[in-house]
């Protein structure tokens, strides 16, 4: 089947098997391998991308369902060599270890902050509970999102909590 969509601002089209998952289309046809597959059941969130501005788990969607859609992946987030505040937050606050859940976690966090750039810790935790991380215990992911929120509000982020104990 022929499928056409916009991915990271570029028009793309391809002939795919109807059963091709969006995540496989992104990874294997377009070679955008930053979007990861962790569970194929929509539970872990490693495959999170934005479809028409909403965070979507791309392993739960067929490529053909994204016909005509505007898709954004982790590769589109930094612009002109400048990291997105969420990417910067993950780096500054050690919000990642193995990095495998990270692209999905960042895309989910961006969607969260796009809706509310001043979330409470509880709102952050519930906002990303659809994305699993096995390395960080989420502690520093929450700090990373707090950092990014502050940056997006034009405020100074809180200092890291590993300095001088917590």
């Amino acid at each position: 089947m022929e499928v056409s969509m916009t991915v990271n601002g570029r028009a793309v089209s391809a002939d795919v098997e109807p059963r091709t998952l969006l995540v496989h289309f992104l990874r294997e046809n377009l070679r955008l391998t930053g979007t990861h597959v962790g569970c194929e059941t929509g539970y872990c969130g490693a495959c999170t991308v934005h479809v028409d501005g909403k965070a979507v788990k791309s392993c739960t969607m067929l490529a053909v369902q994204a016909e005509g859609a505007d898709v954004k992946t982790i590769e589109s987030l930094a612009s002109n060599g400048n990291l997105h505040p969420v990417q910067e937050g993950f780096w500054e606050r050690h919000g990642l270890q193995c990095g495998f859940c990270t692209p999905g976690m960042i895309m989910a966090s961006v969607a969260l902050l796009d809706e509310n750039n001043n979330p409470s810790e509880d709102e952050i935790r519930h906002g990303i509970e659809g994305n699993l991380c096995r390395c960080t215990g989420y502690h520093n992911i929450v700090r990373a999102v707090e950092y990014a929120g502050a940056k997006m509000r034009g405020e100074e982020p809180p200092p890291p909590d590993w300095e001088g104990g917590e």
Partner: protein, 791 residues
């Protein structure tokens, strides 16, 4: 801003820029021209004879390149294992299956969809046999799992008898005699330490290529042990190790699950050679659940005997540990890691017996902590129960029985000595940080209001830094994979002609930040900025020897080796600098990217000039060989023994049994720290996995051997919404086992947590008279405990 200082500084990770932009390379990202994809046909039943296996129809399916069954690979033998006790896994099922998910046939096709279609088209018929799943039933030997083995008990580990050469005393009579004392208080509980699925978020993946012209394999694998895999492939195919290059690129979490050499890795190599094309396999999450190793899986009875005023007189454990159907890598040796810390931080006689039992389930092996969380769980839970029995504060009981600071090194009954520790000070710091007294007041007030609030405490000591060369005598080595027969550390430091530094290490990180930590070690040692240091790992062609990353060993052993190599390079560089400065080498100091004579900052020679001189004979001193590099192996004389103590605050909803974790406070001691930011991160993740075991995770087989928890819907991991922010601090008790005084921290959080949570929930339920609830403490189980207690 994170600092850019070096040793002891929270340097931002060098790994991160690629990873946060989706540009890190994991194995499944590789897609070389002509790559074929693998799908396995796996057993849907736990135990059966295979009465017919017909792949002819499947072979005609679109895109299929080959389908292999046991006959095709029988000549390669079973999967190599380091500890060869029990039945080794056939690469593909040999006429019978022994656990659900066992690989029966391997399909290689043009793409993953076609491979899966063909796997489903294979005709197989089974003569199903009743499986043996229950541990106690298996241990009774009423029926055997493998006819060719004498017993379902593959091996029994005892505290005194595990290593004959040590001539250790059997302390069982001491423990038994203590129980007969008039003033003895004996507390005993049967407890489960349930089977877990490691669930690295990156599924395992392998991509093998073979070039017949060069006669070489190149294998990319998501592994913690690239050198062991290279050794296994070279041995299996009768090749020299140099002709097998194994690369572990970014590895998306491991936690022990990628510390095995797996049959799929050997089979991918076989198929790549047979078909002359690259062959890739990436497990599905369901396969990860059924066919990648599991951890834990113990049931046992812990008994402690002490006086009424809190003095421990002895400890006894008898447990059954589930090995699964086939032995891989270290399977049967895992409980031995628990044995070494059987007595915890306490001075008392120990009688400890763990039977290793085979069942019709997936193999168990090292999962974060590996034997140590189990051992500490039983010990720390029974200490908690004992403290309740005699009505003493659980921290007070612990402090009364700790080894004292002046008793280190403290020789334990298992023959090893705890290297260093100040356990009571560690507890004191935690009590102050958490405001323990305030927590207890809050709990009591809540109890008065009829709420179920609990404060749980726990301590732990672990054994890390594998390892001491003597362990090779009892099989703790990679000798079966053809590597040097001990777990020495290895580090190569090379100052390049442009004064940048290349560091090559034999570790296999999966998120631990080695590229940053090692840059700090070397940069600090040479006075070269960390951004000029590049750290290479995970490629057998780059490094002569690598043990891999597991057992919290990397910094304590390979880091120490790298540190010593750094010192050697510095010594040589000092000679060159002295030559250039016309000074004495013993007076040279390095700082800020250059060298000068101590006490006189000028004249000064930059590293650029030193490096250049080292590579051109006419500018280097006559007695100094050209080049500027050193490789060092490091063999520690002892393991390291990190420790710590934790406090959990929980509230239980009496109507639903739901447990809410309100606070989690930990004071850990891993000796000196190189990067506190990374150390914090390791402890955070470890705690989360400990909470996972305590509250959520449970790998369940039904009595027919069906794995009921094969997806993340059935096997819940902690989410961000389930956990609080963690409150951490540290005490620092350096070790003298290695020159940096570091102990290791990868598993600390996990080893310290599960019992702390359970102790907290039991504390919350104490007013109801509940003595114990087995993990995981999901609402239904806790609710049932409440109902039973209320009669």
């Amino acid at each position: 801003m994170a600092t850019t200082s070096v040793m002891g500084g929270s340097v931002r990770r060098r790994e991160d820029p690629a990873l946060i932009q989706g540009m890190g390379t994991y194995v499944d990202d590789l897609q070389p021209t002509g790559v074929l994809q693998v799908a396995f046909m796996r057993s849907p039943v736990a135990r059966a004879k295979i009465t017919s296996l017909d792949t002819s129809k499947a072979k005609e399916m679109p895109g299929v390149a080959a389908i292999y069954t046991h006959e095709d690979v029988a000549h390669l033998g079973p999967l190599l294992a380091q500890v060869q006790i029990g039945k080794l896994r056939p690469l593909l099922a040999d006429g019978e299956v022994n656990h659900m998910g066992e690989a029966i046939a391997m399909v290689v096709a043009e793409n993953r969809y076609q491979a899966q279609d063909a796997a489903e088209a294979i005709d197989v018929e089974f003569d199903v046999v009743k499986p043996i799943i229950d541990l106690k039933e298996a241990a009774s030997d009423a029926a055997k799992v493998h006819d060719e083995l004498d017993s379902n008990i593959l091996h029994t580990w005892t505290y005194h008898g595990y290593w004959d050469a040590l001539g250790l005393e059997d302390q069982t009579p001491q423990v038994d005699a203590a129980m007969e004392r008039d003033d003895a208080v004996v507390v005993s509980l049967e407890m489960k330490n349930q089977r877990l699925i490691p669930v690295a978020i990156e599924p395992r993946s392998v991509m093998a290529e073979y070039n017949p012209g060069y006669g070489r394999f190149t294998v990319h694998s998501s592994t913690q042990v690239p050198h062991a895999l290279g050794g296994a492939i070279s041995k299996t195919f009768g090749m020299i190790a140099s002709d097998v290059r194994v690369i572990a690129p970014e590895v998306g979490g491991g936690f022990g699950s990628k510390l095995n050499v797996y049959n799929d890795e050997i089979l991918a190599a076989f198929a790549a050679k047979d078909l002359g094309r690259p062959v890739k396999w990436t497990e599905t999450r369901r396969e990860a659940a059924s066919s990648t190793i599991h951890g834990r899986g113990w049931v046992g009875t812990a008994t402690i005997v002490g006086t009424k005023d809190g003095e421990f007189l002895g400890y006894k454990l008898h447990a059954l540990a589930d090995m699964g159907a086939y032995s891989q890598n270290f399977t049967v040796a895992i409980p031995l890691l628990g044995l070494w810390i059987a007595s915890g931080q306490y001075k008392m006689p120990v009688s400890w017996t763990v039977d290793c039992v085979v069942t019709n389930t997936m193999t168990t092996d090292a999962y974060r902590g590996a034997g140590r969380p189990e051992a500490i769980y039983y010990l720390e839970r029974i200490i908690d129960a004992y403290a309740r029995e005699i009505g003493m504060d659980p921290f007070e009981v612990r402090k009364k029985n700790f080894w004292q600071p002046d008793e280190f090194p403290a020789l334990m009954g298992c023959g090893f000595a705890l290297d260093s520790g100040d356990y009571a000070s560690n507890v004191d710091k935690l009590m102050e940080k958490a405001d323990y007294a305030g927590l207890l007041r809050m709990r009591d007030q809540a109890r008065d209001e009829g709420r179920l609030v609990g404060v749980g405490v726990g301590s732990y000591v672990e054994v890390c830094g594998f390892g001491p060369a003597v362990l090779a005598e009892i099989g703790f080595s990679w000798s079966e994979y053809g590597l040097p027969a001990s777990f020495n550390g290895s580090g190569l430091v090379r100052v390049n002609p442009d004064a940048t530094v290349t560091v090559v290490i034999g570790t296999g990180p999966s998120g631990q930040g080695h590229e940053t930590t090692w840059a700090q070690i070397v940069g600090d040692g040479l006075g070269i900025p960390v951004d000029k240091v590049r750290v290479l790992h995970g490629d057998t062609r780059e490094h002569p020897m690598g043990i891999g990353t597991f057992g919290s060993r990397s910094v304590a052993v390979d880091g120490a080796a790298t540190y010593e190599a750094t010192l050697k390079v510095r010594e040589k560089a000092a000679k060159i600098a002295a030559h250039l400065l016309e000074a004495s080498a013993t007076d040279i100091v390095f700082e800020n990217g250059g060298a000068h004579v101590a006490g006189s900052p000028a004249p000064r020679v930059e590293w650029e000039a030193i490096a250049k001189a080292a590579y051109q004979a006419h500018t280097s001193p006559e007695d100094v060989e050209s080049g500027l590099e050193a490789h060092t192996s490091f063999s520690p004389g002892n393991a390291t023994w990190p420790f710590g103590s934790h406090i959990a605050l929980v509230e239980v909803d009496p109507d639903t049994g739901n447990v809410e974790l309100l606070r989690y406070v930990g004071v850990d001691d891993c000796g000196n720290e190189i990067n506190p930011m990374i150390v914090n991160g390791q402890i955070h993740g470890g705690i989360a996995q400990g909470v996972g075991q305590a509250m959520f995770e449970d790998a369940v087989y039904d009595s027919d051997g069906n794995l009921l928890t094969g997806s993340l819907l059935d096997y819940p991991l902690p989410t961000a919404a389930d956990l609080p922010s963690f409150e951490l601090d540290r005490t620092v008790t350096p070790t003298d086992v290695n020159p940096m005084g570091v102990k290791g921290v990868g598993e600390a959080g996990t080893i310290g947590t599960a019992h702390t949570i359970v102790n907290a929930v039991v504390d919350a339920l104490e007013p109801l008279g509940v003595k114990h609830v087995d993990m995981p403490l999901r609402p239904k189980r806790v609710w049932q405990a409440i109902q039973e207690a209320r009669g």
